[in-house]
């Protein structure tokens, strides 16, 4: 029997989004969004893209934490609660019905128009066939996705890494507190729990090893620098629960992140733009693997640093 598992996952996914539309409480929105991302990541997996699924799962963990840090004040200090109450108080009247019907009609109309012009669902596979036939010779490695990210389209990857650097700078700059040092001296609530401490001691090494494995084998199996870096960054989430993260050198990490970024830029310039890997694959097949592993490690290091800084800023500064 052939279970249409992708269709089921996608239907659940749509249901989650519709739920979010009609939810008014902030916490519920965030939690439903977490479920939504999880189902999304699962669907990615069913669609044959474990790399993207991993990235989405890790990213949604961070996004959920960022949202909760913002929402926490909402309830703790009773600020802005009138927004929620005002939304609940809306009474049934002609105006309120119109207020719902007008956008619904508008969106349904747009959807209907778009459906009229829907192209036929037949993807052209010229590029796919070429990539699958050539990537081992052109770039090397066993994972076609990694070889595209680090080889064929490394020029894109540079800007993607750049955007992460810029976003770390941006978060520090648009924040309400414009210094890099921490101000949060509060301890975590479960700091003194022995069970929590023991769990962390068991789990943290596993997380680190898992991240390192993903990074180092990114060119062979699913994974890569970005996913591994995110996995390593989740280590700091765990650490924050039990120990403080105030003892970590934030300024040094930020500086390091930028220097690693420079390396990420220079390495492909030397290796790919000049065509060295292209020729080296034929002469010395090992060089391409060295290049891929080096790039994965650099990207992993950079992403881990970047997300550490982001997480740190959110829990130590934005939360305060």
């Amino acid at each position: 029997m052939n279970i249409p598992i992708t269709e089921i996952a996608l239907s659940l996914w749509v249901v989650c989004a519709v739920l979010i539309v009609f939810t008014k409480k902030m916490y519920r929105i965030i939690i439903t969004f977490g479920v939504f991302s999880l189902i999304g990541a699962l669907s990615y997996l069913f669609l044959g893209s474990p790399d993207v699924a991993m990235a989405e799962a890790a990213v949604s963990a961070f996004v959920t934490i960022f949202f909760i840090v913002c929402i926490e004040r909402y309830y703790k200090f009773g600020m802005g609660l009138e927004d929620e109450q005002a939304e609940e108080k809306v009474k049934f009247s002609a105006k309120s019905v119109g207020r719902i019907l007008a956008p619904t009609g508008f969106c349904v109309g747009l959807f209907w128009l778009a459906m009229q012009h829907l192209p036929m669902d037949d993807a052209v596979t010229v590029l796919r066939d070429q990539y699958l036939a050539r990537f081992m010779y052109d770039v090397g490695g066993m994972n076609a996705v990694a070889s595209i990210v680090l080889g064929y389209r490394v020029y894109d990857t540079l800007f993607e890494a750049l955007l992460l650097v810029v976003s770390v700078v941006a978060v520090a700059h648009v924040s309400w507190y414009d210094k890099a040092e921490m101000i949060d001296r509060r301890h975590s609530e479960i700091k003194n729990s022995g069970v929590a401490r023991f769990t962390m001691r068991v789990v943290c090494p596993i997380i680190i090893i898992f991240g390192a494995y993903i990074i180092a084998n990114g060119h062979l199996t699913a994974g890569g620098g970005f996913q591994g870096g995110l996995a390593i960054a989740t280590f700091f989430i765990c650490r924050y629960l039990v120990y403080d993260i105030n003892d970590l050198p934030i300024a040094k990490v930020m500086r390091m992140e930028k220097l690693v970024f420079v390396n990420i830029t220079i390495l492909p310039v030397l290796a790919v733009f000049t065509g060295v890997t292209y020729f080296a694959t034929y002469i010395l097949p090992l060089t391409s693997d060295v290049y891929l592993v080096a790039m994965n490690i650099l990207i992993g290091f950079k992403v881990a640093c970047g997300f550490f800084v982001l997480f740190y800023r959110f829990v130590a500064i934005e939360r305060w």
Partner: protein
């Protein structure tokens, strides 16, 4: 069944959310949903001729392998998405501290009053 209709539905559900949500945080959530639906769309495009991951491709039939290019692009798109969203969340937090409200309308009112006071 056409899978890309799901993403089309999602795109307009999130669009509906964007034009109806009253709080900034909800708008940000809907932008994230929009991004997810676009990512899903690309992966469905890559999935149209085969759904096996493009890893270790020499041991499987090439006809059943999904397209690696959309996957590589969507990795970039996800990183870009979270970078931009993080900036928005930080800006929201800053605004929330200043105006003590998360609602677009309340904030607009307070903000425009403030602007008139300066001039």
């Amino acid at each position: 069944m056409r899978l890309d209709i799901f993403t089309m539905v999602m795109f307009f559900v999130s669009f509906f959310g964007l034009i109806t949500s009253r709080t900034i945080i909800k708008s940000i959530v809907f932008i994230l949903i929009m991004q997810t639906s676009v990512v899903m769309f690309w992966l469905i495009v890559g999935n149209m001729h085969g759904s096996l991951p493009p890893i270790d491709v020499y041991n499987i039939d090439a006809e059943n392998i999904s397209d690696p290019l959309p996957q590589a692009l969507m990795l970039s798109a996800i990183v870009i998405g979270i970078s931009v969203i993080t900036v928005s969340i930080t800006m929201f937090n800053n605004l929330f501290r200043k105006y003590e409200t998360a609602s677009w309308d309340h904030m607009e009112k307070v903000y425009s009053n403030e602007g008139e006071g300066e001039q």
